[in-house]
Amino acid sequence: MKRAAVVLVCVTLAACAGILGLRDRKRDTTFPHRPHVISGVTCTKCHAGVTKGGAELHLPDDATCTTSGCHTKPHDSRSCTGCHGSPTAVVDLMAAREHLIFDHGKHLGQTSGNCMRCHDAVATGKGPMRPPMATCFRCHDDLEKARRCDGCHKDLVEEGTLPASHLAHDGDWIREHGIRASSSGDLCETCHKQSFCASCHGATAPALPADRRFADPFRATIHRAGFSGRHALEARSDPGACTTCHTPDRCMTCHVAKGVGDMTSGNHNPHPAGWVGLAASDNLHGREARRDPASCASCHGGAGEMLCVKCHAVGGVGGTPHPPGWSSAQPLYSMPCRLCHPVGSR
């Protein structure tokens, strides 16, 4: 019984390791470049033809290893690079060839034929051989200063590469993107077209991306899943968040269409008892309006504002709606001041 349990645990752990990708990580060994360099093998001995550039990948095959006088007696009949190399190396290299503007031939002159000037991971033996962008910027600092991605990347949208370091779209990027885009809008535009921004921020957006791409539940979009059902809670919990994108008109259009707060068509009053009254205890609306004014504006915007003016105009029973110390640079004859402050009043 114990043995069966141990076997079961082992099988379960092995299955979990497979599902979590831990087995792949173990297999994901980069090619041992460092020992080859130390033993005096030049780069071009294996990567023959790389100096000429062109469309070829210039990766060594098994014949290169066995017929070069080095590994004449392989320890295994399987392909050398099947174990001694990253399983994604070929795919990564093909993608790089397709999406990057780069020619080894033009660079070798600049580096005096020293490949390790750029491929410094050869020395450490760790990490991918493709140099990071920082290596490119050692020479191409003009592209860095101009923040021009198209100097090297043919089309970042088709490439589908997400930022790897700063501006990495990790975590809760929908919340974070506004802060990052404030100072790095030009970098955002290297991948994102106007249609991308307008799909959420556009006043004429017909439907949000979450509605238009409903078949992909992992697409990071705002208002995902049952947002429409809980939007009142979200709006009340984060006053002001809605108006960073929406105008109050947008709320009102929908609320009127659905009969929410549309008193003219005989619908019920959504406010609780004691919402408005002469007694101090009967004035919940004042507190709530100050806490979340956009919520009030979502139904009482436009002509509905006159409802407030009935009581809060100068001399009205509602008194001033301004908090202590409130001030404004607006003249009294401007909107909305003149609604409550008739000419001659203060």
Partner: protein
């Protein structure tokens, strides 16, 4: 309006580049409103010459039937031409686009943008135009927006800028804001960003937001704070903008951990406070979210996701759970499902709000199609059931 937009779409995209355009037509039909939607997207590849690079894009949509409460059956979302000199020192945009001036709020405008790079890594940009209103608004008068931003760059990811914008609706001051933005990448592992917007129409802070993050191979830690004042974010010509400051502040930390090559774990721990001494308002709540995402293959074609979230403050607090799945099937089919359960603290709104979606999609070459059913129950609708159908075709895209 639609005819004009379609004509403009054809003209702009045809004259900007003689090469192949990227086009996408997207038809969406649902049993909810709008019942039908056709979205046409066109994007020309960048035309490069020795003098300038030119690119054009347009998105127009047509609704099959009117959305209740709205009178338009179609509109233009984007129609813009971008021009940039070959060295990237000057950039201009003309048409309908989203204006984003540093820390100021994004605004959809019909107008133009000019951005110039100056010596010493300084940059200036100016935006002017008419704020976009849905539909064909023929009675609009003296609505405009004008603004600008000056900035200086530091390194590849660093910049600090000051922006100003003023918007008038029917000649009345709607918004007048001053914004300051900053961002800096110390190295590949740590960076910071911040934005600050000040309302000049009704003087006061409109928004402050800051974030800083630190990463290594498998983890990323972000610390953030967001402070918003709703009354200052409303248009200054709204009566509700005179109610004063009741700020909402949220601070917290977000941890992202690649626990295994195919497993990502995300934990968001935050505190929100909506407080104002004058009104006696003091709502404080803990907002927590935990998310897990498991890719069932190396590329993440098959994936499972789970999320548990506690959100809101005071009587608007709620607890929610969400599960997602996407499984690739034979014959280019994909099955996806999403389930959400929300329990509001305030039982008067209902005890449990379930929401579920099951979708099947198919993609082959330039064609894609999807069919889904969506069912929900909430305070909004006692029960609701919708069917969604989508058909899309692309031209000139890989």
């Amino acid at each position: 309006m639609i005819r004009l937009a379609c004509l403009a779409l054809v003209l702009v995209t045809a004259t900007a580049h003689a090469g192949p355009l990227r086009l996408r037509a997207d038809a969406l039909a649902t049993t909810a409103s709008p019942a039908g939607l056709l979205v046409l997207e066109a994007d020309s590849p960048t035309v490069t010459s020795s003098l300038a690079n030119l690119r054009a894009e347009a998105v127009v949509w047509i609704a099959g039937s009117q959305t209740p409460g709205e009178d338009q059956v179609g509109d233009v979302l984007v129609i813009a031409v971008d021009a940039r000199d070959a060295k990237g020192r000057a950039r201009a945009r003309l048409g309908r686009f989203v204006s984003t001036l540093g820390a100021l709020r994004a605004t959809h405008v019909d107008g133009g943008l000019l951005r110039l790079s100056l010596p010493q890594r300084f940059e200036v940009e100016a935006v002017g135009g008419v704020p976009v209103m849905p539909g064909l608004a023929t009675s609009r008068s003296f609505d405009w927006l004008a603004g600008g931003r000056a900035s200086r760059r530091f390194g590849f990811g660093g910049s600090v800028g000051v922006a100003y914008a003023q918007r008038r609706d029917a000649g009345q001051l709607a918004t007048e804001e001053l914004g300051i933005d900053a961002g800096y990448a110390f190295n590949r592992r740590s960076d910071v960003g911040a934005r600050f917007a000040y309302d000049l129409a009704n003087p006061g802070i409109a928004e402050i937001a800051a974030t800083g993050s630190l990463r290594d191979e498998e983890t990323r830690t972000e610390v953030y704070v967001i402070h918003r004042v709703a009354s200052h974010l409303l248009p200054a010509n709204s009566l509700f903008s005179v109610l004063g400051d009741v700020p909402s502040t949220r601070g917290g930390t977000l941890l992202t951990w690649k626990a295994a090559p195919r497993l990502d774990l995300i934990m968001d721990l935050g505190i929100r406070r909506i407080a104002d001494a004058d009104s006696g308002i003091n709502d404080v709540g803990v907002e927590v979210a935990g998310r897990a995402r498991l890719r069932l293959d190396a590329r993440g074609t098959n994936m499972l996701g789970a999320e548990l979230r506690r959100g809101g403050v005071g009587d608007s607090a709620w607890l929610g759970a969400r599960g997602t799945a996407r499984i690739k099937l034979p014959h280019a089919l994909t099955l996806a499902s999403e389930l959400e359960l929300v329990r509001p603290d305030d039982a008067r709104r209902g005890s449990l709000w379930p929401w579920a979606l099951v979708a099947a999609s198919w993609q082959r070459g330039e064609w894609s199609a999807a069919l889904a059913t969506e069912a929900s129950a909430s305070a909004e609708y006692r029960h609701r059931f919708d069917v969604l159908v989508q058909l899309a075709r692309t031209w000139g895209m890989k």
